[in-house]
Symmetry: C2
Subunit: 137 residues, 2 copies
C-alpha cells in the first residue's frame, strides 16, 4: 500500500495492482478473435512474432503505430485476451506473445494467424532495422 498525496491535496491509499493476465484456459475463441480484429493489434502481433522472447520489445517501440494512449489501449486488449504478456522493468514495459500457452490451447492457430497477418500489406509495420542491436560492446 502506498500513501499518496495528490497535487490537489487529496490523500489516499492505493495498492500496486499487478498486470492482469488471464489464465489461458479461460480464453474463449470468440474473445481471442475479437482481439485480432484490428489492424493496429495485428501489426503489433506481427512485430512481436519477429523477435525472440529474450529480445526486448518495448511498448515505446510502437510509437509509429499510434499515440501513446491509443497504444496503451491496444496493448491492454491484447493482454486481456491472453495474446500477449507484459512485464515491467523500471519505467518501461516489455511485450511478448504467450506462445507456448497459446499453442498448447489452440494448436496451430497462432502460426496461421501470424502468417495471415504477415502477408497483409495494409498493416502498420516496424522498419527492417527493428529490433535495433543496442549497446552490446
Amino acid at each position: 500500500m502506498l500513501n499518496i498525496v495528490r497535487s490537489d491535496g487529496i490523500a489516499y491509499l492505493r495498492a500496486m495492482k499487478p498486470l492482469f493476465h488471464p489464465d489461458i484456459e479461460d480464453v474463449a475463441p470468440a474473445d481471442l478473435f475479437a482481439a485480432l480484429a484490428d489492424p493496429i493489434r495485428l501489426g503489433i502481433l506481427v512485430a512481436l512474432a519477429n523477435v525472440s522472447e529474450v529480445d526486448k520489445a518495448r511498448c515505446s517501440d510502437f510509437t509509429a503505430f499510434a499515440s501513446p494512449s491509443l497504444l496503451s489501449y491496444h496493448f491492454g486488449k491484447l493482454r486481456e485476451a491472453g495474446v500477449t504478456r507484459m512485464r515491467i522493468e523500471g519505467t518501461s514495459r516489455y511485450l511478448s506473445i504467450r506462445r507456448e500457452e497459446l499453442d498448447q490451447r489452440f494448436p496451430g492457430l497462432l502460426n496461421s494467424v501470424i502468417e495471415t497477418a504477415r502477408r497483409d500489406p495494409n498493416l502498420p509495420r516496424l522498419g527492417p532495422d527493428w529490433p535495433a542491436t543496442l549497446d552490446v560492446p
Copy 2:
C-alpha cells in the same frame, strides 16, 4: 425491375439485387477475424464445417441458435466478411463455407479456426442428427 405497391399505397420500382459476396482478395484479415468474434457465428461455422457443400445447410436449420432476424444479421456478417456463400432456392437459402477460396488466400487458417471452434464447449450446436437424411427413397 418490379412494380411494387405497398400496403400504404406508395408505389415504387425496385431492382432485385443479388446477394453481395466480396471478392476474396478484398477480404482483410482484421475483418475476417471480426466476423469470427462471436459465439453464434462460430457455432454456425462449425456446423457448416461438418457438412459437405452438396449437403444442404438451410438458414432455418439454425433456428435453435437465435431468432430469425438475429440469425439473418449473423448470416450477413459471415457473408459480407467472405466466410460463407449463400444461394437462393425458392423461399429457402442455403449456406456453405467458401473453402477453396479461403484456403487459397489464407493457407491453413480456416482449418485451425474450425478446429479451435470445434473444441469450444460453449458454442451453440446442432444435434448429432443434423443434417437429417431426408426423403431420399
